[in-house]
């Protein structure tokens, strides 16, 4: 039975129980589900050729043995089999393959197989997210068929494209613009068309990457109404609705004594966002729409694994999507770090997430590359007894700017190499501007001779590097275009700075150095300035 039919057949309580009942679990009950599903996965994965390439003949009998026998893995461990899409190597037959870019990988893309069972779980959990996005408390939700969703995420074969496909199997929702049309549109066309339709039909839900929803929301505020007039003849009723909505919005804005914002025109029932850096946008999005976005966590490899709930006070993990392990912060830099389980996390600690995809998934003890902080083991206010988390960022090896691009040391090296710029040494870091928006900050030291032979200004370097970043990473070019911000900042360090730092403190991380280390690097430059100045004076 479809979710839409169930809405008519079952009580709210029953529907809540089915999709959000996991929130009533205790940690012990959560772990029972985890262990049981892991048993199934161990059998499937252990017997597959993919599993055997890693297990090398060993046969774990229980989860403890599995954790001992299977080392932590990265995509490199699966690349050969998965990228060739060798079906018979896998634990279960995949229904479809989801793809994403492979940051700093050997190939441009990564693919992940999705089994029927994984998709069913994904679907159930997505519906849970949809219900929770409209919820103001336990047991409360308001989802109805034929509602409209403004959808700001990429279509299939990207993981985000699964949402409309799976959702439409269960309930007739109107995606703005319709999914089929959206697939053929560019990003900005999609958004424009979506909003146009939204103005006519109203918007009940909004789902997108935090940064994109922010950009789209802002552009809506400054919407040009003149364009709509040209469409008058084709859809007069739609135009009338649009006009009424706009007028109503303007009236609301005027009453509040501020500029028009989307919240004046639309009353969202549910607002969901995914991706990185959502923290930077949530407050402003809430202000713009009058409803705080609910963050969900989904990815290509792990599927949909977690969601915030009505209080928007931390992510809760789904018990049936993956088996979760956590690398404590102090273990992250080790080659084979120790992991702890869901029932062993401590409030306040930061962890790198390690997953084993359940239900015939390919990835086992896989380092997703995301860092979470456990913000509490239970929440009396929401009456939950499960650990809840906050998404912090990608692991330090990766710079993810606003969920768009993933920059690694390798990709920067390659960019520098292609650009031909005479950069002697560099370090790069994700930083936040005065509006709390993320950008990539590169600290470079040029070869001394480069100043003599080339034009070396920050603008030139930025232009050069931007071109090659865009060349190597298709997502990078969307950063500026979509977010309307300059994603790259460059600071040229004085010659010899890195050398002095190395002599004094040793090596510095090339990607995401710690704040203290960066301060020391910059100070090394200042000290040099003083000495040089003194030498110059005496000379």
């Amino acid at each position: 039975m479809r979710f839409e039919d169930k809405l008519k057949e079952y009580t709210k309580e029953e529907m809540w129980q089915e999709h959000c009942g996991f929130l009533d679990l205790t940690t012990k009950e959560f772990m029972e589900i985890q262990y049981r599903l892991m048993e199934e996965q161990m059998q499937l994965w252990g017997a597959s050729r993919l599993g055997q390439t890693i297990l090398k003949g060993k046969k774990p009998q229980n989860v403890d043995e599995f954790r001992r026998m299977v080392p932590l893995t990265t995509y490199e461990d699966y690349a050969e089999i998965l990228l060739s899409k060798e079906k018979h190597f896998l634990p279960a037959d995949p229904v479809l393959w989801i793809q994403t870019t492979w940051e700093g990988g050997a190939r441009p893309i990564k693919v992940a197989p999705y089994t029927k069972s994984m998709l069913e779980t994904y679907q159930d959990n997505m519906i849970g997210c949809l219900m929770l996005s409209t919820s103001s408390g336990r047991g409360d939700f308001d989802v109805k068929p034929k509602e409209t969703i403004l959808y700001g995420l990429a279509p299939l074969p990207y993981a985000t494209g699964l949402f409309p496909v799976l959702l439409n199997e269960e309930i007739n929702m109107e995606f703005l613009p319709p999914v089929k049309e959206a697939e053929a549109m560019s990003f900005s066309e999609r958004n424009k068309k979506g909003f146009k339709l939204g103005m006519k039909k109203g918007i009940d839900y909004f789902f997108g990457v935090g940064s994109v929803t922010y950009y789209v929301s802002q552009s809506l505020s400054s919407m040009n109404t003149s364009k709509k007039r040209t469409e008058k003849s084709s859809d007069p009723i739609g135009m009338l609705r649009m006009w009424i909505r706009l007028m109503k919005g303007k009236k609301n804005a005027a009453a509040k004594g501020r500029l028009l914002s989307p919240g004046d025109m639309f009353k969202l029932k549910g607002f969901m966002c995914a991706g990185t850096d959502n923290r930077c946008y949530k407050d402003e999005l809430e202000e713009l729409w009058g409803i705080r976005p609910m963050e969900i966590f989904a990815g290509t490899e792990p599927t949909c694994i977690g969601t915030e709930i009505w209080s928007r006070d931390g992510l809760y993990l789904f018990p049936d999507a993956c088996f979760y392990e956590f690398i404590p912060e102090n273990e992250m830099d080790r080659e084979q770090p120790m992991t702890c389980l869901f029932d062993e996390v401590t409030a306040g600690e930061k962890y790198e997430l390690v997953i084993t995809v359940l239900k015939g998934g390919a990835f086992a003890r896989y380092r997703v590359g995301d860092v979470y902080q456990c913000i509490g083991l239970e929440n009396p206010k929401d009456q939950t007894k499960l650990p809840r988390f906050e998404y912090i960022d990608r692991i330090p090896d990766i710079i993810d700017v606003a969920g768009f691009t993933r920059i690694t040391a390798k990709s920067v090296e390659r960019t520098l190499q292609l650009s031909g710029l005479m950069v002697k040494e560099w370090t790069a870091r994700k930083e936040f501007n005065e509006k709390n928006k993320p950008f990539l900050h590169m600290y470079v030291e040029m070869e001394p001779e480069s100043f003599m032979s080339n034009a070396v200004t920050i603008e030139v370097l930025r232009e050069h590097l931007s071109i090659y970043f865009k060349y190597l990473d298709s997502d990078y070019k969307d950063l500026k275009r979509i977010l309307g911000m300059e994603p790259l900042e460059i600071t040229i360090l004085r010659i010899g700075t890195f050398e002095r730092y190395h002599n004094r403190y040793g090596a510095i991380r090339s990607v995401n150095p710690k704040s203290h280390d960066l301060q020391m690097l910059l100070k090394s430059q200042e000290k040099q300035d003083d000495r040089e100045r003194r030498a110059y004076r005496h000379g």
Binding site: M1, K12, E14, G21, F22, K359
Partner: protein, 836 residues
């Protein structure tokens, strides 16, 4: 009374019936609120009827009663709806209550809204009730309207919140609409004189009743008791007769002539008949409408309960469960799963058809099982799928349920243990399971659990009385019963009896302990059971004996089976790689009816005799009893084999001898001498070569335990202290400790362990005496003592042969077996034994 008085009577009867019935129901808040609604309906309709009948105490009184009911109706209705939707709201409820009471008392005092009607006499004895209504009645209607609107709002809000609840509200919406239209109808000329408002009231009460019924708030069978039906019948009859008593009286006295004087009797009789008829009709009507199925269900459950209470077998109970489910619930397939022997999973043991697929297996950790244990009630798959338990289902488990199209699962729980699971497939024509189906399944579980508990206790006792606790085979007592029955059954065909006796099992127990012995017995029992399978019966005949009854087996087939079993037992020690077992062999005897026995006694004795023969002829052998003679069936290992085996052991023995030689050269020579003397003695008394070989090996190894004795004690020239003597005595146990680790040599242990025992029982380590001491040990004892005397030791010089012979003679019957000592002396004296 006007011509439509019967409508009021029907309405009143209906309300009264419901009122009485619901007073018997469980008083929940919602039922109470429904009773309030019925009360105001009763006051309204009853008051009106009484008023029109101008009953005592008078028109005004009944008018006010009727008006009270009418004015309070909106409040009562509001209160009912409020409870129905589960609203906690209190404030508005109070407002509508106060407003209703206020309006009533205002009208009572001032007649402002509606005064009592004026009675106008019409021609033909009829009367008309004329109401003088003025505009203030609009206020009353407005108050009622506002209350109704508020009630509708409450319903709408809740219907919006919950789509499912909205469905339940539908009958109430319809009821309100009908009630409203009924009252509007009174204003229409078409209904002039017809109490359309009262008809709408009846329909409305019916709608409310239906809504409550759909909400499963009561059981009809509980409501509709015999008393209620009689009560209603009496009330209706009284009301009817109150109206028609005068015309009847007139009719009897006027038309029936002389019967007129019996008018009271006739009326009383008619009243009784009408009341009974009414009660009969009402009951039939209720049965036809609702209670028929429930009564039938109760009847079936009663029958089921009776059947299973008579049964003492779980299987029978399960079959009865299947039957009742099949009878009561229209369902394509029903399966009952029970735990398998190892209690690791539930497997299908019973199903509606023998052709049904039985491939489903539910592991003990299956979340569905967990759900059933924790909730102890049946569950629809749809409901289970919505539970959080379903999240931990494996894909293979989901597929199993899907394959069998399971839609409902019910537990069979006995003493908090899940003893069975009922799986019900889809209903035909896509019908879905009703609430009553689930109630029935839960009732079956409750009824069956007690019967299952009893039958399990019985079966346990039955099993214990018939089986051997250790091996699970039939015990001796039941074996005799079974043998007798089977001989009777096979009187026209054949029956073979095989008795298998484990060789040297007592020694096995002594050497390896009782638990090892028990383990071996279980292993042997398992082998025998598996080999025999469904072809016969296996019993533990005695401690180390197993008997196999083989109906319709001839001698050859029995012999082949027995040899197969014996072979498997001999190879048993190689089966389990992780567990080192010692070799065990069996001696078997076979006898068959009618070939070589004619009765139970004969077959038993002959098979026993065959076993005895097998034992006497070297064990590890199967012997067939044939008409007074016993014939070797299969010699499991021939003499050549044994020689080969012995030569294989030789290297082990030499290695041990070499070890003792390096430690204590004297003991090395002594062992060789003892072996020689004992071997000669064995030969001298006519023992076969096997025995002689055992004696020789025992002689060589009898002091091997001295490896563990400190050299200063072994070679001490003086007398040993008590402590040292105790250590020295320990060499016997130590010898055994070494030899028992060599399973291939453990047959020498009886000789080694007993070589310091004395014939008079004063020896060590066990203090056994006479023939209890193994023969080989008694021989070793003589050889050991003789060599000790004739050899030179660190603490003594060597004695002469004559002295030694003298000592043997002197200790004959005390330390030594007199027969053997005599034979030994004879062999020494005739030169067969010469000093080494």
């Amino acid at each position: 009374m006007d011509s439509f008085a019967y409508i009021s009577v029907i309405a009143l009867s209906g309300y009264l019936f419901l009122f009485l019935a619901f007073t018997a129901a469980k008083k929940t808040k919602i039922i109470k609120s429904f009773l309030v609604v019925l009360s105001v309906f009763l006051l309204w309709t009853g008051g009106s009827l009484m008023m029109r009948s101008q009953m005592w105490p008078g028109l005004t009184f009944w008018f006010e009663v009727s008006i009270f009911g009418l004015i309070m109706l909106p409040f009562a209705f509001y209160n009912f709806v409020r409870e129905f939707v589960g609203s906690e709201e209190q404030k508005r409820k109070r407002i509508w209550l106060v407003l209703g009471l206020f309006n009533f008392f205002l009208n009572l005092m001032t007649d402002i809204y509606i005064p009592a009607p004026q009675v106008i006499a019409l021609s033909g004895g009829n009367e008309r009730f004329v109401y003088h209504i003025s505009w203030p009645i609009a206020i009353l209607i407005l108050c009622a309207g506002v209350t109704i609107l508020d009630m509708m709002k409450l319903l709408m809000i809740n219907a919006k919140k919950d789509v499912v609840s909205a469905k339940q509200f539908t009958p109430i919406f319809i009821g309100i609409l009908v009630l409203f239209l009924g009252h509007v109808g009174t204003l229409l000329p078409i209904f002039k004189g017809f109490p359309i408002d009262i008809v709408s009231g009846i329909i409305n009460a019916g709608c409310m009743f239906y809504a409550l019924y759909k909400k499963h708030l009561f059981k009809l069978t509980l409501l509709v008791s015999r008393g209620v039906i009689y009560g209603v019948s009496v009330v209706v009859s009284v009301m009817l007769f109150a109206n028609v008593i005068s015309p009847i009286e007139h009719f009897i006295t006027g038309k029936l002539g002389r019967w007129g004087e019996y008018d009271v009797l006739i009326i009383a009789f008619s009243f009784t008949v009408v009341t009974l008829l009414l009660s009969f009709v009402i009951r039939k009507f209720i049965d036809m409408l609702f209670a028929k199925d429930e009564a039938k269900q109760a009847e079936n459950l009663k029958e089921f309960s009776l059947q299973i209470s008579k049964s003492l077998h779980v299987d029978e109970i399960m079959d009865h469960i299947l039957d009742i489910i099949h009878k009561m619930i229209e369902v394509k397939k029903v399966y009952i799963c029970v735990p398998d022997k190892q209690k690791k999973k539930f497997v299908i043991a019973h199903s509606t058809s023998p052709l049904d697929s039985r491939e489903i297996e539910l592991g003990m950790k299956n979340p569905a099982i967990k759900w059933l244990i924790q909730n102890d009630k049946c569950v629809l798959m749809n409901e289970f799928r919505r539970s959080v338990y379903y999240r931990s289902m494996w894909e293979s488990e989901k597929e199993q349920f899907q394959r069998l199209e399971i839609e409902c699962i019910a537990p069979l729980i006995s003493e908090e243990e899940l003893v069975g699971i009922i799986l019900l497939s889809q209903k035909p024509r896509g019908k879905s399971y009703a609430y009553d189906d689930l109630l029935l399944l839960d009732s079956i579980n409750s009824i069956a659990s007690i019967a299952i508990k009893n039958s399990r206790l019985y079966e346990k006792a039955y099993l214990e009385a018939r089986t051997d606790e250790l091996t699970g085979l039939l015990n001796r007592k039941y074996f005799y019963e079974k043998l007798e029955t089977e001989i009777e059954r096979c009187s026209k065909t054949s029956l073979a009896l095989v008795i298998l006796n484990i060789d040297d099992f007592k020694l096995y127990n002594q050497l390896y302990g009782m638990s090892e012995g028990d383990y071996a017995l279980c292993q042997v029992a398992e082998i025998v059971k598996n080999c025999v399978g469904e072809n016969g019966y296996v019993a533990r005949y005695s401690g180390k004996e197993f008997a196999i009854i083989l109906p319709r087996f001839d001698v050859l087939a029995a012999k082949n089976l027995a040899s197969d079993i014996a072979g498997q037992i001999a190879r048993m020690h190689r089966r389990d790689k992780d567990y080192v077992m010692k070799i065990l062999t069996v001696s078997g005897g076979i006898c068959a009816i009618p070939y070589s026995a004619g009765s139970m006694k004969e077959i038993m004795e002959n098979a026993d005799m065959a076993v005895y023969h097998a034992k006497r002829h070297g064990k590890n052998n199967i012997v067939v009893y044939e008409c007074g003679t016993v014939q070797n069936g299969i010699q499991m290992q021939d003499d050549i084999d044994k020689k080969e085996v012995y030569s294989e052991y030789a290297s082990t023995i030499y290695a041990l001898m070499a070890a003792i030689d390096t430690k204590d050269h004297y003991t090395f020579n002594h062992s060789k001498n003892v072996a020689y003397y004992a071997t000669e003695l064995a030969k001298g008394i006519g023992m076969n070569t096997d025995f002689v070989e055992i004696v020789r090996e025992a002689g060589l190894l009898h002091d091997i335990g001295k490896i563990g004795i400190p050299e200063h004690i072994l070679n001490k020239s003086g007398k040993l202290t008590n402590e040292e003597y105790e250590i020295m005595k320990g060499h016997v146990e130590q010898s055994i400790g070494i030899i028992r680790n060599l399973p291939s040599l453990n047959y020498v242990i009886p000789a080694v362990i007993g070589h310091h025992e004395r014939y008079d029982g004063k020896g060590y380590p066990r203090g056994i005496k006479g023939d209890d001491i193994p023969l080989a040990a008694r021989m070793l004892c003589i050889a050991d003592s003789f060599d000790a005397m004739v050899s030179k030791r660190s603490y003594k010089k060597s004695y002469t042969m004559e002295y030694a012979v003298g000592e043997l003679r002197a200790q004959s019957g005390r330390q030594f077996d007199p027969e053997l000592a005599k034979k030994f002396i004879e062999l020494v004296e005739n030169g067969t034994i010469i000093l080494s």
